[in-house]
């Protein structure tokens, strides 16, 4: 995990583990009877396992002592029945919950996924996708395991423990006392080591994450490392991290060693003592040999319930953390609830009718990223821009001036902090998100393809578009290479399919944006990865599409600017100038510098033309 995710991942406040776990109830409720059945089976199985030593005692004291063969058979059958019962019930315990628990996991994961898709982009900016994924996989697994084992066995083992102690006290209270006495220090010591161990384990997890980060970067940046011959530096860094991890792991091993010493040592001590005392008692006739056998056997079968308490509790804690992490996401407010108060509807609608063909209008738009440092200025500070209906407007500005950010505001991937944006006169906050995003079609700077066929990827923009429209869009984007793919537009691409080059992906992303003739088109530097030749062809084809739509095109190059009717220059969070390419070249030194690179004199601040 990149450490970047850490601040966001911190749970806001830790409440008690029980309170956290209780939040699982909505998911557990539908399967509560299966869980109950499972618990009852486990309890019965454990109890029948407890009764077995009693039967053994009876065999030793009864039929064996009295040479009673008939009695032996009766006891034998009883033993067999109990044994089969134990086995069958333990199997049943798992069988009852296998499908229901897998179902719970599935439901939780599906809910998480659905929720995440609807959270605003600003949420995703804060959370590394790795953090989200670990919630969808390992945390779900932890919760499922908790429901399957610790939850059931915390109940079962406590009851078994109490019953077993009861049996032991009935058999021989003195021996029982000796056996039970170490239980208290055992539990205390276990939970002491358990606590320290889980602290060390958490540290190890973090260090593992750091180690993975170094590794990831060394692989992702392999070209850079190879270019500069820096792999030794990186290897030294990796080794240092790995050694840190080893120290922690060794500490874990030492704690574990102590833990096991306690778990093995204390019960043996008690058993040894009770054996000695028991022998004395048998010799003095105050107890029978069978009782001693039964007693020791019972004591042995109680070892697991006692030993397990430590890790059952530790695991429950872990499950509580997993639940918290799950609800951290589930409690986040979805995009819909972040909507500001919708401006009074009536006048808007009136103006909507009036400005039926008003195009895109941004008025006094202010924006800053939610995670921007508090003392930094707004990225967009009172920006006004009007793209007339049917017009293509190029948006230019220095790197980092906020061009890409501006494009993301139109389909409300981010919410503006002030001002308003209207499409044909209607405030975008009044248009349902789904409808808005249907109206505004986008091509992003970083062309993302999904694991699906080419046509599915392109038709994302207009699911109802026809085959001809798909073909036309591919033609516009000069993506004819698709036809040469093994299965044409049915070829799988993305992570699990054919991997395409940056230029190919960019052309598909462009096709996706233009398919189905959207009313408003937003293109973010759509030609950056294309070679000169292809770029020229795309431009030619794109012109026809742009003629029929209202478009905002982010441009870095004069050639892209040529696509537009007018150009808007973004500087210092506002639109500094609007005009045709030639007008701006003539009148605006800043624009001239941006487009031609011709400096208006090194270091001169007044913008006078030195040429």
């Amino acid at each position: 995990m990149p450490p970047a995710a850490a601040p966001a991942a911190q749970p806001p406040a830790r409440h008690s583990a029980t309170r956290s776990l209780l939040r699982l109830w909505p998911y557990v409720r539908p399967i509560r009877w299966f869980l109950t059945a499972s618990t009852v089976s486990a309890l019965l199985a454990s109890l029948s396992a407890l009764v077995i030593p009693l039967v053994l005692k009876n065999i030793v004291d009864g039929p064996v002592a009295h040479h009673d063969t008939a009695g032996l058979w009766r006891q034998g059958v009883l033993l067999l029945v109990l044994g089969l019962l134990e086995a069958g019930l333990f199997g049943l315990r798992r069988w009852f919950v296998a499908r229901p628990l897998a179902g719970v996991e599935r439901q939780m994961r599906a809910d998480l996924y659905a929720k995440l898709q609807r959270l605003p982009v600003s949420f995703h900016d804060r959370w590394a996708s790795g953090q989200l994924l670990s919630r969808a996989t390992s945390d779900m697994y932890t919760i499922r395991l908790f429901l399957a084992f610790p939850l059931v066995f915390l109940i079962v083992n406590s009851m078994v423990f109490l019953t077993g102690i009861g049996i032991m006290f009935t058999l021989d209270w003195q021996l029982a006392l000796i056996t039970v006495l170490p239980a208290a220090p055992l539990i205390i010591l276990c939970s002491y080591f358990e606590r320290r161990y889980s602290a060390a384990a958490r540290l190890a997890q973090d260090q593992n994450g750091d180690l993975a980060t170094v590794l990831e970067e060394s692989v992702l940046g392999i070209r850079i490392l190879k270019s500069f011959g820096r792999h030794r530096t990186m290897a030294a860094r990796y080794r240092a991290q790995a050694e840190l991890l080893r120290e922690t792991e060794l500490k874990k091993a030492r704690l574990l060693a102590n833990l096991w010493a306690v778990i093995v040592g204390l019960p043996e001590l008690a058993l040894g003592t009770s054996l000695a005392v028991g022998i004395v008692q048998v010799a003095h006739g105050s107890t029978t040999a069978g009782t001693l056998v039964g007693f020791l056997s019972t004591a042995l079968s109680l070892r697991w319930p006692v030993e397990s308490l430590g890790w059952l509790l530790a695991y429950s804690n872990e499950a509580a953390t997993a639940t918290d992490r799950f609800y951290e996401v589930m409690d986040a407010r979805p995009a819909d609830s972040e909507d500001g108060p919708v401006p009074d509807g009536a006048p808007e609608r009136a103006s909507a009718r009036a400005g039926a063909r008003d195009g895109i209008r941004l008025a006094g738009v202010r924006f800053r990223y939610p995670d921007a440092p508090a003392d930094s200025p707004d990225l967009l500070s009172g920006l006004d821009l009007h793209v007339r209906s049917g017009e293509t407007m190029a948006l230019v500005g220095l790197t980092g001036s906020g061009k890409t950010t501006l494009t993301a505001l139109l389909p409300r991937l981010y919410e503006i902090n002030g001002g308003r944006i209207t499409l044909d006169g209607t405030d975008i906050r009044e248009i349902p998100r789904a409808r808005l995003r249907e109206l505004v079609s986008m091509a992003f700077e970083d062309p993302t393809l999904f694991s699906a066929s080419v046509s599915e990827n392109v038709l994302m923009g207009a699911p109802d578009a026809s085959e001809e429209e798909l073909e036309r869009a591919l033609d516009v984007a000069q993506a004819q290479f698709v036809r040469a793919l093994p299965e044409g537009s049915g070829t799988q691409v993305g992570e699990q399919g054919l991997s395409l080059s940056g230029g190919q992906r960019q052309r598909l992303a462009l096709a996706r944006a233009v398919v189905g003739a959207p009313e408003f088109l937003v293109l973010d530097d759509p030609l950056s990865a294309l070679d000169v030749h292809t770029e020229a062809l795309v431009e030619q084809a794109l012109r026809q599409v742009l003629a029929e739509t209202t478009a905002l095109v982010v441009a870095h190059r004069p050639s892209t600017v040529q696509l537009a009717d007018r150009v808007a220059l973004l500087a210092d969070g506002r639109i500094a100038a609007v005009g045709t390419h030639h007008e701006l070249l003539e009148s605006n030194p800043e624009y001239r510098e941006l487009m031609s690179g011709e400096r208006t004199g090194e270091g001169t601040e007044d913008g006078s033309l030195v040429r």
Binding site: M1, P2, P63, T69, A87, R94, R99, A102, G103, R106, R109, Q117, H124, G130, S134, G209, L211, A212, E216, E217, L220, R223, I224, L225, S227, F228, H231, T233, M234, A235, E249, L250, N258, V264, G265, E268, G272, I279, V282, A283, L292, L300, D371, P373, T399, T404, P411, M442, F444, T448, F450, P486, E495, S499, S501, G502, S528, H556, S559, G597
Partner: protein, 632 residues
Amino acid sequence: MSVAETDLTETEQGELLEEPHRREPRLPQEEDRAPAPSGESEDIPVPPGAPRALLRSLLGPHKARVVLAMLMITVQQAALQVGPLLVSYAIDRGIPALRAHDWGPLVAVTAGYLGCAAVATLLQRSFIRLSGVINQAILLEMRRRIFRHAQALSLDFHERYTSGRIISRATSDVDTVRELLNEGLQELLSVILSVLYIAVLLVVMDWRLGLASLASVVPIYVFTRGYRRRSQIVYRRSRTAVAQVIVRFTETMNGIRPVQAFRREAANEEAFSVSNGEYTDANAQGLLSMAQFVASSRATANIWITGVVVWGAVLVTQGSLELGVLAAFVLYLRRLFDPVDQVAMFLNSYQSASAALEKIAGLLAHEPSVPEPGEPVALPAKPEDAIPGRAVDFDGVAFSYRTGKQVLPRFDLRIPAGQSVAVVGATGAGKSTLAKLLARFYDPTEGRVTLDGVDLRELATPELRRGVVMVTQESFLFSGTVAENIAIGRPEATREEVEEAARAIGAYDFIAALPEGFDTDVRKRGGRISAGQRQLVAFARALLADPAVLILDEATSSLDVPGEQAVQRAMATVLAGRTAVIIAHRLSTVEIADRVLVMDQGHVVEDGTPADLIGGTGRFARLHAAWRDSLV
């Protein structure tokens, strides 16, 4: 669960890593098609015996420790298994002796029991500590080897194998092995030893009952084998299914902008539900087959206990067995069958660990195709007053992919020291391959590439990298501050030099404007750095490295015009006199070169100064005319 976390990085990062240099439409039979398979399939063969050899070489240095640890656990288990034997002795000897007022046997038994308990406890503790030391040493060495090997492997391997898989080798696969080492092995050793001891003790105490008890091994073995087979199938299914889930999940989260912009939420949920359901089914099936195994093996064990106890009781009543022995049998039998469940668990972790080890061994067994020279040669020293650039020669060079598809037919090319050469041509013309041969990311199939007359293959890596540096279109930033990222070019550079490099490339202003200036962590809040800015950082890095030969492989694609001009200015001033090879699709970049090569299908079809070519009638002239038109 680091497994899932690393799986994610696999898919998360895979996308970033797409090879930028491949641009032409590619057909499946072509070599350079990235296989991009899902999850499990591996395209590097694992040499037979490689996993075992790896294990041996890892364990080798720790032989003495391993032997000691084995000894400890052997004695420890013996001490632990003595208990019931002492119980039997106490009942059969201690009680009668005590009745005869002889406390000797009882004291002996008690002392023996407590002594054994103490020995078992202490040895258990020491064993865990010692095995911790061994395990960690092995893991450290394994991690180190994977890392170093991955760094040594050539770029073509990285392109084929994909970053995600290398990452998962060193993370989730190592974790799987760790889990086996930490928990599985110790458990397995204890189980095997306890079963062995108990078996011997049972047979020694009473051979009839002993052998009868041991016969239970047969049915339990059958059940275990059946379970193992079933769980293997389920395991594979669930691995594939979880890979699907992870891919879908990360794809959605990383592409959340297009997902929301194109309203894919509902369709995604449907697709996710399919993968999720598949995974759920596999999980449920695994749980069910576990339930079946637990029930059947437990039942077998209990049937056997009953049979042995009843028979033992009969023998006692007949007088041919002592009561204490029966008691010991009862106690031992329960211990004998207790670990059956653990064995099932162990089988699972063993299965995944051996699969992981095999993958690791496969990666480590892969020979780097661009090896370090055995006896490196130094570059000839430069006279004081000479220009810093070095001459480059492609001497009868040809390059083909491993499958034989030829990319560059045999050619000769000489670039004098200090010349800057622009390479242009359509996608797939071989420009990037030319650059990669010069950077020695690949070795030529035929001929040789030399730097001042020295074959690149004879240069040690540090020497080579002082000579040749390549800046690619990819603008990856390492975690750390901006200054640290620039300093990768020359780690020993001072802060002033770093800032100077940034200034020379026109990156100083935007870096200084970041929340913490040059000390801004690029992965932390506020470190939002655009694609163009990243490329400037990459250039500053190259400037700092100050190489004799600089290769720019489409390194200006995301720059705006002022950015590109800053780069050109830097080339003319700070980097003056260096040999430069510039691949660009912006013709503005080409104009500043001393010489232009136009490539087509692996051949250099035009070669001359920009002015000559523009003035001519060739492809370059036509391209240039079209470009000029677009500017006005």
